[in-house]
Every structure is written in structure tokens, then in C-alpha cells.
Symmetry: D2
Subunit: 392 residues, 4 copies
């Protein structure tokens, strides 16, 4: 047994008691997450939000550990091997993220889920560590992360409407942005957590805290993740990725060494992929300022010096304003972008509704129980429609 801790403002400490967790944290692939920011453009608005996927992954693990310590039903429902599967899945669920992940996936067509799976199952330090402990461990963790329903309870705990992943990142992102949302009462939620017929459900008196969690989620989307300036950064980054990709395809001769990315695009290997991180992409963008291609160098210079695009909000802009911008910029795919993002705090279409246990040992859907959640699921689909464009 090891006895290590990481200081963490959210939990006091992240506590590492198992050797396997210690080894996984020290693996090359996990350490790489120190170089992948959790939030992409958000630090353009919230100047302190420079935290990494490394710290979020530790947090999701710690929360999983606390679930096993504090939620007696879960503790009893899982055997020792399953507990290990749970802890490792929480720790590793984001290991395949690329630099500025969402845009990266979109333009370069490499999904982080696939990559996470490939890292866990493929030729990696992580796979060696897992296999040493148990030959099935790697595939079982991969099965949890890709929702194969082999371990439905663990899947629910790692990834559902209310899981260790979301609970950590909402609080963590709030801490670093300074948003006064997201101070969810985790203790109370865990006190309400039960297992019945192999599924998680919540005592009815913990519903106010779940409502509070959904409210936080809604606000984080509204005010942080979809903040026009955050989005603008991401829109511009996507354009740079787009131009980069096109120039590679067109055989343009880069002044910057972009061979690593070409490797990734061509071969899609784990080995190539793992060399790509924020350090690499930031370094390229810095160099791109001096490229001959006018568009790439212009976009890179803007992004690097935070000379972001303008934006107008379609909800409030007059038709004339919109027309004028469209007339001038419409054809220019690198200097004009209509951006629509939308998110519901609680999606009630899906099967995996949160279940509530009410007195009389009856099980009801959260939606049925809470009129507030009902309102959230319908009305709180926060939709943002903006046009980003370079100055005219």
C-alpha cells in the first residue's frame, strides 16, 4: 500500500493508496495531461483558468475514491477487482484528449474516445501497468469508458447525468474561473446515493442538491463555456486548424516543422498522437506568425496577441447590422462564422434518467419528482447564436 497525497483545494487532498494508481499517474501518457488544458478558450475571459486535464483527472479519481469510502451501497455492490476497475476508469477517462480537443477532433477527425481506448489497449505504459496487475483489466476499463454495458453500475458512476467526471469538472472550472456557481454540496449528494437492482438512485431528500447541481451546470454553460469571448477563441482556433489542414493537403511548404501533426493525420497511431499536446500546438501557432501564407500568419498573429474577432448576438442585432456584415464577409470562410451552440442542463430524452427513491420504497424519475428539473430540461436549453467576424 502506498500513502501519497496531492494537495487539492477542492478536496483538501487527492489520496493515493493503491500502487496501481500511483504507477498510472507516473506513466508517460498520464503525465502528458499536464500539457493539455482543461478549458480551451475560457482563459481568454477568465484569466486564471489555466488548469489542466491532469488536475481534473486526479479529481475525478479522488471523487471515485470518496464514493467507495462514503457510499456504503456502492462499497458493498463492488468486489475488489471492480473497485479497481472503477478507480482506474475515473482516472483514465480523459487520457486520449488532444490539444484544444473539440476543434482538434472536428478538423482532424480523431475522436478522443477512440484514442483513449487505443492508449489503454495499445502499446503504452498504461497498458503495461494494467496488464501486470490483471490481464483483463485494460479491456474492462476500456469497456467501461466506451459504455459496453459489462459493468453498468461503474459506467453510471463514471459517465451519466450525475457522475464523478461532471461533479469534478463543474467544481474545478468554477474554482479557477472564480464563478460563484458550481459550489455543489457533494457530501449531501453522496449521502443520498443508493444502489438498487444494480443501479444508482438517489433518496428524495437529496433532490434539492441535485437541482442545485443542474443549476450550476446550466450557469457554467451560459456564463463560462459559451461566453462569447471563449467561443470566439475556439472559432478562431478552428479556423487555424482548418487552414493548417488545407495547407498540408495542398502540399504547401511550411517554414514551421509540422511533421508530427502530419504523422498523426496520416497514421493515426497512438505513438504519434501522444507527441501532440498544447505545447506543440502553441509552438506551431507561435511560428505560424512568420509563415508566408497570409491567412495562416494573420490568424495566428491575431490569436497569439488576443486580437480576437468582433461578434454580434443574433438575438438582439437588427437585420441591417446582420446584412451589412454578411455582405462584406459572407464569402470569407476564414473571417466570418455563424456560431450556434446549445445545451440543456438535463436531457430527458435519454434512457439513463436520474432515479429518485421516495418513501414507500418507490422509484420515480427525477423529472416526474421535480418540477424544477422539468423546467430545466425543457426551458434551460441555453442557445447562443452569434456571428464572429473580423473588423470591417
Amino acid at each position: 500500500m502506498v500513502n501519497k497525497v496531492f494537495r487539492d483545494p477542492l478536496y483538501g487532498y487527492v489520496r493515493v493508496n493503491d500502487e496501481i494508481i500511483d504507477e498510472l499517474i507516473n506513466s508517460t501518457e498520464f503525465q502528458r495531461l499536464r500539457r493539455i488544458k482543461q478549458l480551451c478558450g475560457v482563459s481568454m475571459v477568465f484569466h486564471m483558468a489555466d488548469h489542466t486535464r491532469f488536475s481534473h483527472s486526479l479529481g475525478a479519481y479522488e471523487l471515485a475514491r470518496e464514493v467507495l469510502e462514503k457510499v456504503i451501497d456502492v462499497k458493498n455492490a463492488l468486489n475488489d477487482y471492480e473497485k479497481t476497475v472503477f478507480l482506474c476508469s475515473a482516472l483514465l477517462h480523459d487520457v486520449g484528449h488532444g490539444p484544444y480537443s473539440h476543434s482538434f477532433e472536428k478538423i482532424f477527425k480523431i475522436s478522443h474516445e477512440t484514442m483513449t481506448n487505443n492508449i489503454i489497449l495499445g502499446d503504452s505504459h498504461i497498458n503495461k501497468i494494467l496488464t501486470k496487475y490483471n490481464p483483463n483489466l485494460a479491456s474492462d476499463i476500456a469497456s467501461v469508458i466506451s459504455h459496453k454495458h459489462k459493468f453498468p453500475l461503474i459506467e453510471q458512476l463514471v459517465s451519466s447525468q450525475l457522475d464523478v467526471d461532471r461533479m469534478d469538472y463543474l467544481r474545478r472550472d468554477a474554482y479557477f474561473t472564480g464563478a460563484q456557481f458550481g459550489d455543489i454540496d457533494i457530501e449531501k449528494i453522496l449521502r443520498g446515493m443508493l444502489v438498487k437492482n444494480g443501479k444508482i438512485l438517489f433518496k428524495y431528500n437529496s433532490v434539492p442538491n441535485i437541482e442545485d447541481y443542474l443549476m450550476s451546470r446550466y450557469h457554467m454553460y451560459y456564463q463560462v463555456y459559451f461566453h462569447p469571448v471563449s467561443r470566439c477563441f475556439e472559432v478562431m482556433l478552428e479556423m487555424i486548424y482548418q487552414r493548417w489542414y488545407e495547407l498540408i493537403k495542398s502540399g504547401y511548404q511550411f517554414r514551421t516543422d509540422v511533421s508530427l501533426l502530419i504523422d498523426v493525420i496520416d497514421k493515426k497511431t497512438v505513438d504519434a498522437f501522444l507527441k501532440i499536446d498544447d505545447v506543440y500546438v502553441n509552438g506551431c501557432i507561435q511560428q505560424f506568425q512568420y509563415e508566408k501564407d497570409r491567412i495562416l500568419s494573420d490568424l495566428a498573429t491575431r490569436l497569439f496577441n488576443r486580437k480576437l474577432f468582433n461578434h454580434i448576438d443574433l438575438k438582439y442585432a437588427s437585420d441591417e447590422q446582420v446584412d451589412e456584415i454578411k455582405k462584406l464577409k459572407n464569402n470569407d470562410k476564414y473571417y466570418y462564422k455563424e456560431d450556434v451552440v446549445a445545451k440543456s442542463a438535463y436531457d430527458y430524452q435519454i434512457d439513463e434518467q436520474i432515479k429518485v427513491l421516495i418513501p414507500g420504497d418507490k422509484e420515480v424519475d427525477l423529472l416526474e419528482f421535480s418540477p424544477i428539473v422539468k423546467a430545466f430540461s425543457r426551458s434551460s436549453k441555453y442557445t447562443s447564436k452569434l456571428i464572429y467576424y473580423s473588423e470591417i
Copy 2:
């Protein structure tokens, strides 16, 4: 100019810069608020909630002071005299509260609004201090507190759907109960506050924070103010008041000296009223344990030693359970009580809706702007129906 401070965890400091405020705080009537608890039965559940109306009144004042400092529109809309009216109204708005106020009012038929007015306008230190500064000041403050519409802007700031009173007590009660709600982003709300045509309205981008405030309010009712054990204490206290009152009316010879209360009931004078506070009522209840009247002494002994009644929740109880209790206790007005409490986080019937300013300089109702608030106003009417009864 004075330069005094009171340490306050919510604001860092309560800052007193005006001599009149300093004098009012030191008045006998205001110091009495040190002996009136802010929350009545709540400390039966939340063992740290022993804070007083004194600290809340200082807090409401400090928030008023910050509004004048930070909200430029308000600063410009009020002249020096009106600023003084505002600060004093915030400070004094609760000065007429009795011990365990809500039950007190109900049983003894003495409203705290009337009493506040009487203290401000009558023969009191407070009245002397106010009149010394300006002969109209007392009546103008009383007019604000009783909503006479002479100073509509100040009335809105002191008492409306979103005012310095509520903003302080939600946060303060949360601090002392340890509830993780109520951490409202006051700064952000104040940044959105505007004055237009002599009325307060809010910039549309501060709406998420107002939604958050309403959510906090909803939760504080649900989990704190209407907590079954808090309510139980209040129900039992009401019964003691009731029995006390009846015994007085019936000419019962008390062992305890209850002359002060008799004075209040008979004469309803400010002078008599001000002698009544938590110290007095607690002292009487302590003595009542040794009264000959069986009901009074039993109720007092129970309350004093926290041997509270049982309760069942009508939402979940079976008909049989309810019937059994009713059969046994129904006729016993001192040992049986059906308690229904309900509260909406946002009441949209009333005139004084919160107004939102959207781009294009248009003014809309908050309800129209925010589907979440709409949901709150309709569905979040938290209703609690319980039966409290002594053990069978």
C-alpha cells in the same frame, strides 16, 4: 465623520462612516436586537444558527452602503438626504420584531411592522436621534418601511423581490446553518443594477445571477426555514404562547412573573414592548417547567429539553397512519397540529416584478425573459404538509 467598523464574515467589515448611523446602532432599541434571534426554531436542526437580528440589521445596512458606493445610477438618483433615509431604513427595518416573532405576532396580535413604526415615530432614543438630524427624517423612514410610495426607489431597494434585506439574510442564514446555498454573487447583481425612470431594473446579463438568487431562496425555504424540525419547534412554541395567553385571560395565578407580557398585551405600548425579548421569553419558559398548569409545564419542559413532537409527512403517509393519529390526538389542540406552509421563490402576481433591460434599451419582465424564473414562479411553490403530534 466617524470611521468605525464591525467585523463581519460576509462583507469583511460593516463600515460606519456617518455619525447618525453610529448613534442609531448604540441606541437602546437597536441594541435590544442583540437579544432577538434571527431564526427561531432553526437552531434545533442547524446547531450553529444562533445569530441575531442585530447582525442581520447591520448587514442590510452595509449592503445599502455598498449599493450607494458601487451602483452609480443609485448614487446619482438620490440626494444626500435621501441617502440618509435609505441607510437608516435599511438599518431599522426590523427594529420592531418581538421574541420568536412570527408566533408572537400571531398569538398576541402585535404586528412587527406597526411596532417598528411606533418605535421610529414614538418616544424612543431612535426617534430623538433621527429628529435631531432632521425633523422629517423619522416620518420619512417610517414611510419607506410601510411602503407609502413617497420614496419608491428607496422602497424598492429596502423591500421588494430583490432587496438589501433579502440579499443579506439569505447569505447570512446560509453562513450560519452551513447550507451550501445562498452564496449569491452580490457583486455581479450590483453591477447589473440600473435606475430608469426612478425605478430599479437589471441588465439582461445579470439574469443568471438573479436566477441563482431565486434558486437559493427556494432551497433555503425547502431545506432550512421549512425543515420539519424547525417547524416543529415553532409549532410547539406557538402552543406555549397560546396556552400562556389563555391562562392570562382565564385569570390563572402564575408562579412565574409574567407582568411584562401582560403589560404588552393590555397596553401595546412601545415602552412595554421593548422589555420583551428572547431573554425574557426564554426565562419564562424555563420557569414554566415548574408551573402547576399541567399543559404549560409539560410543553415548556419538552421544548426546553428538545423533546420535540413526532411528525408525519402527509405527502407520503398512508391513510391508516393518518387516521390512527387523528383518532388519538385530533381533539387535543395542544398535542396535535396540522401544519401547512408554502412559499414561491418568485411571486409573479404582484405588481413589482423584477424588470430586465435588454439590448435596444427595451424593458421586459423577468418572467418573460427567463423561462427558468417562469418555472420557479409556478412550480417552485414549495409546499409542506405535516402533522405534528406528541407520542401516542
Copy 3:
């Protein structure tokens, strides 16, 4: 096994898992602590410091519970019975405190240690509960609280230079006064706690946190407990107690019913003592305003309305100032008092020094290890010398 919690801002929750603890908390004698304030005159300065010995006692218990959960050495060193002794001792250590305890003890000559022992060992609910679980439990707990060295390890944990009692009250008092000291890193201190040869010692790398704890302690004395206005309240209360006592002795006929106190003074029984609490004393002082005895009624009126004495600081006052006051007030034992209080954050004379474990498995005294603590123990004896006097 029970599974109850009390919401507590310092720990999230106070967790009750053992039936015996649940029963003790519900005992009449323990519930009485709800009516004994933790800090006496401090709320005259820090208007939110109205917390009770009830909440502190729960906190000391919770900290003891966390020690058993988190400090493996302690967990292993104690058997189940000893664990119960530890938890109960932490919970009950203050159960014999009187109203405004320090002055009460001084004037009426009733020590709270003796009273705590008498309650635990005598005819009380608490004694019944303890004895039901184990016939030796009451006497073993009493032995811990009065330092009989039967359970030296538990004694150290409950009462020493660094124990669950002090760690809780420093943090709690800081929370309620709003002082920005006292935010001690308990987790880190517990991580450094070891047991060697049946004694507590601390790993050398937790020393900075112990230094921090001593600094907090020093500051709380300096700025809170010994604040001139806090002390003034206590000085005046002592005078009231003194006058009260003298009038009883002289056969003065009280208008107020003071029979309970007379009982306590005469018989010193547990039964009589338990009827005395803040409610009782406050009620008496309120009544004393209307007594014929001029001194008693004057002091009571002043205290009740916070018309405190003046004070001068002997460190800075000129000889002339001091002489003038002395000339006028010197003979008046009720209106003049020289008050000297002093406290060292760390007392190194005593045997029970904090021990530090350094690499090489060597044990050294904290004083030897930390030059800062050395400085504290010598120089930080905060001494305050003031004269309190009524206006001339």
C-alpha cells in the same frame, strides 16, 4: 449502528455512527449546552459570535472521530472500548460549564472540572447512558477528563498542547468572529500525527502547520479573547456576580427570584447546578435593572444596554491620566478595575511538550526543532494591562 449527521460549516457534517453518542447528545445535560454560549463577552465586539458550547462539543467529538478514521497509528493503538472512551470524553469534556463560566467559577467558587466530573459520575442521564453500555465507562471518561493518567494517549488527544478541544474551538471561534486567523490545516496536522511508545508525536514536516496553529492561537488571544471590549464585558459581569453574591450573603431581599442560584451556592448539587444557564443569568440581569440596590441595578442596566465602561491601556497612558482616574475611582470596587491578562501561545515549562519525529527515527522537543516556536513560547506571552472605569 445509527447514521445521523449535523450540518457543520467547519467539517461539512458532524457524523454520528454510534448509538451511545446519539443518546448522549440527546441527554438533558448535553442539550443544556445549547444554552451556554461558547464565548462570553466576545459578541460585544464581534456581533456574530453567539455560538454555543453545544456546537463546540459536537465539533470536538467530530474531530476525535476523524482522528480515529484518518490517523492509522491512533486507530491501531486503541481497542474498541478505548475508542468509545475517547469519543465520549471529547463530547463531554465541557458538560460542566456554567453560564459565563470563567466569572461564574471565580465568584461562586464552583469549578467546571469538578462539575463535569460530578455530572458524569453522579445521578444524571449521562451517567445512566454510560453505565448501561459498560459499568466502567463513566469513571474511565471522568479519569480522562481529570488527567488521572490511566489512558495517557487519550488524555493527550483530548487535552494537551494540541488536541481536539483546542483545534475545534480555535477554528470555530474564528468562523464566528470572522477573524481571518484560525484557518488551521487540520488535515495536514492529522497526516503528521504518529503514536510511539504510547505517546503522540508529529512528523517533522508537519511542524510548519503546528507553527501556524500556534500563531492562530496567539492571534485569537490578542485580537479576540483579550479584546478590551470583550474583557470589559467580562469585568462588568464579574462585578454583577460579585454584587449578587454579596447581597445574598447580606440577606438582601431580592425582587427577582434568585432561589436557583442560592441553591447552587449552598448545596453545590448537580441537580441545582444544571438549572443554571445563560437563560437564567440573562433573565436575572434583565430583572436586576429594576432592583432597589443602586449598584446592582446600575450595573445590570449598563450591561444590558451595552453602556460599557471606559478603559485606558496602561502601556500607553500617561501617569497623569492614570492618576486622575485612580484618584476618582480607586476606592470604588464596582466602578474601577485594573485588569491584567496574559497568555503564551506555547508554554514550554510543562512536561507535555509537543514531540517531533525527525529522520533517523529520532524524537526531539518541538521547541528545540523550531526556532519560531521558541520565539512564541518566550516572546508571545501576550500581556494586556488595562484599567476599566465608569465615566467620571
Copy 4:
């Protein structure tokens, strides 16, 4: 007048009211600070400490703004022009820092003070902005930052034993590391701040808070800045810088494009320097993993994957241990390093002691007034002596 804010957990908001501050923040040179981490190796231990000099510089500015708002003496002592000098100096005091600044300066012999001056006075956006407002502004700010004694009061506020720079970074570093030190009571310190004869001094009753600040400083050095793992990162980074420098001097043909650094070393121009930031250095280190030079590639690979050196603490290591390591590694300047760091929380040799105002309008040195500070200045020189070495 502008009215912008930056969300900041430490202050609620950083408030920008002056156009010049807004322009400076948007300048290319200031935006570059987004790409310079505040703490270098610390995030190797405290995984959340990824905050930047950008956020610290905003914080120091905000604190300066609050001093002007809250400290009446300072407000009155400075005219409008001087206020601008103060605010700009606080904002810009770190603008010349390089990537991983301390090692950078040491190896490449480029001081950040000189560079800050050159940026402010030279051909930069910042200089243009300043000069547009007032032709003297740039040189006056430079004079403050390099302590030319033209504005002694402002110099004291920007850089002394207790200034806006230190107060911000102690709190900020504590927030991001999660250290429970550093929660200094800024409000109370500002309330004690006075100006007398053109110099800052502090009221005697704010001394406890200054003691607390010094304690925090001491602890941050002990536990954070000088943490063995933080230091190890810096030691290894210095070795990489050293090897990099030597290889450049020796004419080694880099696979990586290092022309920017060569420019800086050769020309030392502002223009070249500003292109160097964490992005650049991290990118180079990433590439260095693939260099032919065995030492450079090995060090880079270790650092990149957090395979840090071992260390022993000379305070506790036996002579044998030390000898064994020395024998094996002594000659290897890239794999062996004796590291001695020492810091006093309060340096009393220097002229600019903190002055305290005691009753009677007398001025004394803080050292004379506070025995605790005396202890700090002598004994709290925290000294750390370690040997870092690669595994044997």
C-alpha cells in the same frame, strides 16, 4: 471612463476604470504575460499551480486601485498624475520577465529589471500608450520600478517589505497551490496604513495582521517555493539552459530551430526578447528530446515526462550516504547539484523597515515593537540544503 472587470477569485473582480489601464492590458507586451507562468517548478508538486504573471499583474494593479480607494492618507498624498504612475507601475512591474525567469536570468545573463525598463522606455506598444497620455509617464514609471527615489511613497507601495506585489502573489500562489497559508487579512492591513512625512507606516493595532503576513510568507517559502520537488524542477531546467547555452557557444548544429534564443543572447534587444516565452521554451524542450546531443536529449526527456532527479537532505543524511553519491556523481555537472536556498521572512538589515505608529504619535520600528517579528527576522531564515542527483 471605461468600466470593465475581470473576474478574480481573490478580489471578486479586478476593476478597470481608466482608459490607459485598459490599453496597457491589451498591449502585445502585456498579453505576452499570459504565456509566462507565475511559478516555475511548483506545478510539479502542486498540480493546480498553472497561473500566469498576467493574472498576478492584474492582481497587483487591483490591489493598488483598492489602496487608492480605501486608504485615505494615500489618496490624499498623491495627485492625479501620481495616482496614474502608481497604478501603471503596479500593473507593469513584471512585464520584463522571461520564461522560467530565475534560471533564465542566471544562465543567459539578462535581468528582468533591465528588460522591464527597456520595454517601458523602448520601442514598444506600452511606451507608445504611456507617452500618448503624458510624455514623462514612461520614465516616471521606470523610475519607480528601478527605485530611483523620485516617488518614494509610490516605490514603497509597489515594492518594499509589504507592498501590493507581495500581498497579491502570496495570496494568489496560496489559492492555486491549495496551501492553507496566505489568507492574509488585506482589509485590516489597509485599514492600518497611514502616510506620515511622505512615508507609509502602520497603526500598532494592525501589527498582528502584519505578523500573520510574515508567517504566511515564511510558510510559502518553506512549503511551496522551496519544496524539494519544485526546486528539483528548477535545478534540472537550469541544467538544460546551461547545456543549451554551451551547445550554442560551441557551434553545435541544432535539429531544433533555436534562432530566437540566439538572437536574444547576441543582441539582447526588446524585440527579440519578447518573442521568448514559455510556449517557446517548452516547444524547444519538447524538440530537444530528439536532439543528437545525449545530455540535452536525456535532460529534456526527463523533464518532459517528470522523471525528476533523486534528492537527499543534507540536514538528515548520513556522511556515508553523501559520500557515496559524491563519489559517483561529483564530477558530473549535469547530473549532480548541491542546492542551497535560504530566505528570511523579514530582513531587518535593510533601511526600509516597516514603521509602526503607537499611541502618543510615536513611530517605532516593527522589529522593536513586535518580539515575534524579531524572532522571524533572525530565526526564520529558512535554509534548505539538498543534493539532487540522477539515479545511480
